[in-house]
Amino acid sequence: MNWSVMIESLPALAEGALLTLELVAVSGVLGFMLAVPVAMARVSDRWWIRLLPMAHIYFFRGTPLLVQIYLVYYGTGQFEAIRSSILWPYLSQAYWCAIIAFTLNTSAYTAEILRGAIQAVPRGEVEAARAVGMGSALIWRRIRLPRAFRIALPAYSNEVILMLKGSALASTITLMDLTGVARTIIARTYTPMELFLAAGLVYGVLTVIILSGFRLLERRLNRHLQPH
């Protein structure tokens, strides 16, 4: 084991970790924003409203993330119409392709978590809201969504950890994330075990940070349930 290589590469790995965190944060926020309407449509009574979210969820959960990344990164360039459109400055960059793929991927998993949570909101609470004269938009905003978010939180923290691990695939489309930096240094020094273990350690630290963030959030959102 070559310890000095591990220590020398830590600053570079830390820089890669910043990009990893950025990818997870940006696509996490965008994915969550997309997941809310998808989940709301997914629980609709009308089948034709359910159809599109179901197809979205089925496709992105049923295919490998690597395929989705390649599809956005390599696939979109096949069409002249896309290459000459205003989207191309984004779609020709690995960074935005990774963001788009991760966003679509996590929105499918998150929507499915939210669907379970929305359906777990006690019927009586919704009926009570209706009884005091709330309209359906207000019930969504005041009762169903806030309740569903609290119910979904523990499962959602798992999804964020899975996203953190999935973000390593950004290195396959040339991005210098944590895994990308490790692979680049390995190509130069040929010390794979040392570098991958060091990178693994940094992933571990990131996981702990994210999980403690969720623990704080959970405690804050459920503070009305805490015993005094």
């Binding site: 295919t63 690597l66 390599y74 794979p192 992933y203 571990g204």
Partner: protein
């Protein structure tokens, strides 16, 4: 649809993907049983080793584990072989490396699944076996395992679906699986969208078939059980 003449190539890649997924899953199940045994019934050092294994592997990205195993496994295997007096270099085929990596990775998840399932078996069942004069191995095989299998099946099904999709990552270390064959076809045809969509739908088909298989197994193993949801 012959996909511009690459249909046969994608089919052979699909077959490799299916083989890789099934062989890796079988190895992960064995590893999971060993891991769960070590964590629940083993002596303290084995328990620590089990905890270290599941703790680290489940915290690492799958791609990193695959790269780590691919670059590290050949080394370790050869050192072990050398220690036993075997001096020729053992080369790992990409398929073998893929199986080792995926089994190592998903074995950690299976360990936790089996650990949870083992805890659901009432200790009275084991004691009844002992009272009948059965040995530990036979109690495990005849009484514990058939029940553990039933409890562990739904979670194992989810894990198999994840594993099936993660086989795509093994293309990164050079296995000629569906993903790699697709990339090769893209290189020749310059039609990346067409081929990656085709690959996506093949993976969808595979996961759909796997889901049906899991559902069938679940119905079979819970045969004769009362369910509360009816």
């Amino acid at each position: 649809m012959d996909l511009q003449g690459f249909g046969a190539q994608l089919a052979s890649g699909t077959w490799i993907t299916v083989q890789l997924a099934i062989v890796s899953m079988v190895c992960a199940v064995v590893l999971g049983l060993l891991g769960a045994g070590a964590k629940t019934a083993g002596p303290a050092p084995l328990r620590w080793l089990g905890t270290l294994y599941t703790g680290t592997v489940r915290g690492l990205p799958e791609l990193l584990v695959i790269l780590l195993v691919y670059f590290g496994a050949a080394n370790i295997i050869n050192q072990v072989a050398n220690a036993f007096g075997y001096s020729d270099y053992i080369a790992l085929s990409p398929f073998m490396a893929g199986v080792i990596a995926l089994a190592f990775n998903y074995g950690a998840y299976m360990t936790e699944v089996f650990r949870g399932a083992l805890a659901t078996i009432p200790s009275g069942h084991r004691e009844a076996g002992l009272a009948l004069g059965m040995g530990r191995a036979r109690i495990f095989r005849r009484i514990v395992l058939p029940q553990v299998w039933r409890v562990a099946l739904p979670a194992s099904g989810n894990i198999f679906l994840s594993l099936l999709k993660d086989t795509a990552l093994v293309s990164v270390i050079g296995l000629q699986d569906l993903m790699r064959e697709t990339s090769i076809a893209v290189g020749y045809s310059k039609a990346p969208f067409t081929f990656y969509v085709a690959a996506a739908f093949i993976y969808l088909g595979l996961t759909a078939v796997a889901s049906l298989g899991i559902h069938w197994l679940e119905r079979r193993t819970t045969h004769g059980m009362r369910t509360l949801t009816e």
